[in-house]
């Protein structure tokens, strides 16, 4: 296929994908009446009215903090947890290795959220942590762990084992030395990519947060948005403004994309 054909097709599709997003963001900044009257015109009547309403919603700030906290905490905890396991999967041989790795990597598909949600609900209730961030955190960690494990293994597979062998033959032998002096500096970028990935997974997660937060105070932003949309809340402007707030982090990453090399993100998600 000729290069220009490819370019045109790619650009067209990209426009189709990004225009709705940008349109939603812009529309959130407009007056409701202008939305209804002339949807197409890009008048300069930008109003932050909708945004103000969103920010002043009773649960907004709490839900925002919940979302951010959950995303950061689950990313950090998941990354800490998968590090030794992925290293072991990558470098060590042990009995039943094939079975253990397959089951760990696939557990989130075999035992998917809708299946586990009811037992989780009951167990978390019994422990008294239903309707709390801790409860949602636990489910988010469970949800992300297997996926992060598979990526972790790939990350460690990408570091040549000879580097460790040379260290070992020079008596630089301890786990701490090997990991922090040799392996870790080479996987920093991949870990950042992994962090972003788990952050995104937790950020956009709806199902667990929706069910475990039994009152609106402990929900996350997707839950807030979902409740608004599915309720009788007919105020388009506010809904759109709130959606924009959720779109913006992703758009922000896009703008940074010229600096963040695509390769590094790719290398943390490619499977070989």
């Amino acid at each position: 296929m000729k290069l220009w054909v490819r370019k045109i097709l790619a650009i067209s599709f990209a426009i189709i994908i990004i225009t709705p997003l940008i349109w939603v963001v812009i529309s959130g900044l407009r007056d409701v009446s202008s939305l209804l009257n002339n949807p197409f015109s890009l008048d300069s009547d930008l109003s932050f009215e909708n945004l103000k309403v969103v920010i002043n919603l009773p649960d907004f700030s709490i839900n925002l903090i919940n979302s951010i906290l959950l995303a950061i905490l689950s990313s950090i905890i998941v990354i800490i947890l998968i590090t030794p396991i992925s290293y072991t999967f990558s470098r060590y041989n042990f009995p039943y290795k094939k079975y253990i790795t397959t089951i760990s990597l696939f557990s989130t598909y075999l035992l998917a959220p809708p299946v586990l949600i009811f037992p989780y609900f009951k167990i978390l209730s019994q422990f008294g942590i239903i309707n709390s961030i801790l409860g949602i955190l636990i489910t988010h960690i469970a949800f992300s762990l297997p996926f992060a494990l598979s990526i972790g293994k790939i990350i460690y597979d990408s570091v040549p084992i000879e580097m460790e062998k040379i260290a070992i033959i020079n008596n630089v032998n301890t786990a701490r030395h090997l990991f922090f002096k040799i392996i870790f500096p080479n996987i920093k970028l991949q870990y950042i990519g992994l962090f972003i990935l788990i952050f995104a997974i937790s950020w956009k997660e709806f199902f667990y947060a929706f069910i475990i937060s039994t009152d609106s105070k402990s929900g996350t932003l997707p839950v807030l948005l979902g409740t608004m949309y599915s309720g009788e809340y007919n105020h388009w402007g506010v809904i759109l403004a709130c959606s924009s707030l959720m779109i913006l982090p992703a758009l922000f990453l896009l703008i940074l994309s010229s600096r963040i090399k695509f390769q590094y993100f790719l290398s943390s998600t490619s499977k070989e």
């Binding site: 470098r91 060590y92 041989n93 580097m163 008596n171 500096p185």
Partner: protein, 382 residues
């Protein structure tokens, strides 16, 4: 006393013992202090496995299975390794005091040249001041002071090689193992590295084991060479000796520059070789073949021992199919009986392609004919 002694080493592909399972067998050799020892052989034959064994990366074959192994290493070894008389076959790589330069160097990309080189010293619990001092000294010896703070991705192949060797040498190991150090280098660097290592060996009384597949460079610098093919040692000797008296057809072809091999049957009474290609060959020089008693024989002849003469019905004849010059000598390739292609030289007359000529086998010196049996295990010539 031998610095390094390998006794009856056998390397297996996995820990399941089957017929076809071995990579190399019956490897026995020793290295003295100050010696540069070469392991030579074709690609894929198992030389790197021997290097890995010496370093300690291949675990010994145990009767009981080891349940938790690091490094995805499938191979196993049996046999003994001694260093200065002490058996180290079961000790860990970190305790063997060996410097290792792998084939792809594996310099640490996130460290500068200086950090790469001084890295092994962290295993010795030295103070940073000490480490810096030793590092500086090595930098000067290797002439790398200019790129002290450069990163591996910024320096050339030859410099990377030096850094890798410096990294292996800095902790003053008794044994150096280099896996194909010259494989990716320009010819200029090729001629620098091995003499430099030899100098180091003499001054420190350590030894080095170099894996290579280039016979030419091997003959120039090594004190002793071990040639490996088909899982076993074919010959272990100084380069000069191997060149002059190869023990198997493989060594003759691979190392000693012998290009012509004639198969035939040998009659020890009449000292005749009946060959399909060259008819009857009369052996006049008896010392070479006197101990040979089997009927099947391979006769190796150097191209310098054969001479092309004008077409003469008393001598066997054929057609020249190729011709080239090398170092002032003319080489010809002759096809005889549609089967054999032989290379002969002639200093005097120039012959042309497609010309019919005759072949004169003149044997003057001892080293012109080599006799091997068809089976490798019976080595013949002296």
């Amino acid at each position: 006393m031998n610095l390094l002694e390998i006794n009856n080493l056998k390397i297996f592909r996995s820990d399941i013992l089957t017929e076809q399972n071995s990579i190399v067998e019956n490897i026995t050799f020793s290295v003295r202090p100050g010696e540069l020892f070469g392991i030579l052989g074709p690609n894929g034959i198992g030389k790197s496995s021997i290097a890995n064994c010496i370093c300690g990366f291949i675990p010994p074959l145990r009767s009981s299975k080891n349940y938790f192994t690091w490094g995805n290493e499938q191979r196993r070894m049996t046999g003994e390794i001694f260093k200065n008389g002490v058996e180290i076959s079961n000790s860990e790589p970190s305790n063997r005091n060996i410097g290792y330069v792998p084939q792809n160097l594996f310099l640490y990309p996130h460290m500068t040249v200086f950090e790469n080189i001084t890295f092994p010293l962290y295993g010795k619990n030295l103070k940073q001041v000490e480490i810096n001092k030793i590092g500086e000294k090595i930098l000067r010896e290797f002439d790398l002071s200019e790129i002290k703070f450069a990163y591996p991705r910024q320096i050339s192949g030859g410099q990377k090689q030096k850094v890798a060797v410096a990294r292996a040498i800095i902790k003053d190991p008794e044994i150096l193992v280099l896996d194909e150090p010259n494989a990716n280098l320009d010819p200029i660097y090729k001629s620098e590295l091995l003499p430099f290592i030899k100098k180091f060996l003499r001054s420190q009384n350590s030894c080095a084991i170099v894996i290579t597949h280039d016979p030419l460079e091997a003959s120039k610098y090594f004190d002793k060479i071990m040639i490996i093919n088909d899982k076993i040692i074919h010959q272990l000797d100084s380069p000069n000796n191997i060149y002059n008296t190869p023990k198997t057809p493989f060594v003759a072809k691979f190392f000693s520059n012998i290009e012509n091999f004639i198969e035939g049957t040998y009659n020890s009474d009449s000292n005749l070789i009946q060959s399909d290609s060259l008819g009857t060959i009369i052996i006049e020089d008896e010392t070479n073949i006197s101990t040979y008693s089997r009927p099947d024989i391979i006769c190796g002849i150097r191209s310098e021992s054969l001479k092309i003469i004008d077409l003469n019905k008393n001598f066997i004849s054929g057609k020249i199919i190729d011709e080239f010059q090398l170092s002032g000598t003319n080489f010809y390739r002759i096809q005889i009986n549609k089967k054999n292609i032989m290379v002969a030289t002639s200093r005097n007359k120039r012959y042309k392609i497609n010309q019919d000529v005759s072949l004169k086998i003149t044997g003057i010196r001892d080293h012109d004919y080599y006799f091997f049996s068809n089976k490798i295990t019976h080595k013949v010539s002296k």
